[in-house]
Point group: C2
Chain length 266, copies 2
């Protein structure tokens, strides 16, 4: 019996060689040009998770998309810049042909049970939300199931007064949620300017930040079920706009908040 590897795991298979770490872009997660940014972000995080000196679990990751990642091999250089008793600060560089194409900083920490609360209201995805066709979307989107209600699907065909959307997100085929996949899911939301203006222009994320509000034990309990993603934009100004998003469990537990700032050409 052959156990097929999930394409997400295949995309994050690294080769370790004399303390150096090499990865390969994955055709299954190709974007219109180069790889899906969420997968690049997941690779930056995995370089830390795989590092022998890692301490604790991810609290935050910021990825800077410094240049287009070319299809093919890349090297990942992860360096713990500072290790404290319970927190660790990382700097990661993705290098291709001797040039830096992506950088990232991350904070890891041990978790401890404390008082907790959620100030943000959880969104409600109506039961009639149905899978969206990903046929017209880039290759990477074929590895996800997105459900949206009909009104929302119609909304994104025309220019809108704002770019807020609500949808489900799940790996296709389903795959147990972990920190790399949660990171990638925080980047599945189409650039808000496409929804706002219902027209295409060259664009690309320049920086992306995720805050993790979950530990690995809770991710394991969640398993491979879908998450609910809520996204919106704040301001579009002279070549850049920012968007923010949250990832919730269907029963209203906030797993991650994220922001990104995106270049656009008019």
């Amino acid at each position: 019996m052959t156990q097929h590897k999930h394409p997400f795991d295949s995309a994050l298979e690294f080769r370790h060689e004399n303390g150096r770490v090499f990865g390969q872009t994955s055709a299954a997660y190709a974007n219109m040009i180069g790889p899906f940014g969420g997968m690049t972000a997941a690779a930056m995080l995995k370089a830390i998770l795989d590092h022998p000196d890692v301490l604790g679990e991810p609290i935050t990751l910021t990825v800077n998309f410094a240049a287009g990642v070319k299809d093919g091999e890349f090297e990942l250089e992860a360096k713990p810049e500072r290790t404290n008793r319970s927190t660790q600060h990382w700097y990661v560089r993705m290098v291709q042909e001797g040039e830096v194409v992506t950088t990232a900083t991350a904070v890891f920490s041990t978790r401890r049970e404390t008082w907790g609360a959620t100030d943000m209201s959880s969104p409600h995805l109506p039961a009639e939300a149905a899978p969206v066709s990903t046929e017209m979307m880039p290759r990477w989107a074929q590895n996800y199931t997105f459900r949206m209600e009909g009104e929302m699907r119609d909304k994104i065909k025309d220019a809108q007064p704002n770019a807020e959307t609500l949808q489900s997100i799940q790996d296709k085929p389903p795959r147990p949620l972990d920190f790399p996949s949660l990171t990638a899911m925080a980047d599945v939301f189409p650039p808000r300017i496409m929804i706002r203006r219902a027209q295409f222009a060259p664009m690309g994320t320049v920086a992306f930040t995720v805050y993790f509000h979950v530990d690995s034990a809770t991710l394991s309990q969640h398993g491979d079920g879908e998450l609910i993603g809520h996204a919106r934009a704040n301001r579009y100004y002279n070549r850049y706009f920012d968007q923010s998003a949250e990832l919730w469990t269907p029963d209203g537990v906030l797993f991650a908040t994220s922001t990104q700032i995106v270049y656009f050409k008019e």
Copy 2:
């Protein structure tokens, strides 16, 4: 006639020595322990702004507070990791006694006039908002004027169902707004957990991100007038919580959005 330097400018006076850059923490911007994080963030940004190779204007800055900054001298190492035609990606380290205490990444870019819009609704600070006493606040807060309406001032005395606040922010004495001061202002909001629970516990920001939605010409036009700051928390979970904030002009122009993730001990 003596022209007194603004304490904010004195705090950001760097010494350049054989291509190395040194700064000094400022007693005027002291926090309970060490310097005000907003001033540390401003110093990280200014290290880039002062760099001979800088291209364009700040689009985003992420600061990682890796360890407590000690009062006294620090060195700033700013490195352009990647320079493209119109964007530049930076990595900055603040070092004290040979150890990294703060890291930052930033994206700079040339701006060009494009289509623009603001999806987020601008908040309204009622006219009766009056200056808040900063007497009980840390030393750095004495360099700001904060106005809040009475209901909001009362609200923060007791535990709350959420940590949302609205206030004005202005340098005291007034000082023309620039990118470093805008950065510091994005970090003046008290940790949301203090408002939510109305009790004090050891806490500290571990990472802070600012998105700039303004260029230097617009900042100059704004001058030294106040900004309106709107802040809230999202989730408090096992030692960390995140908060987000926006800085608006009084007439509703969004200058900056920011997020931070904060450690707390219960």
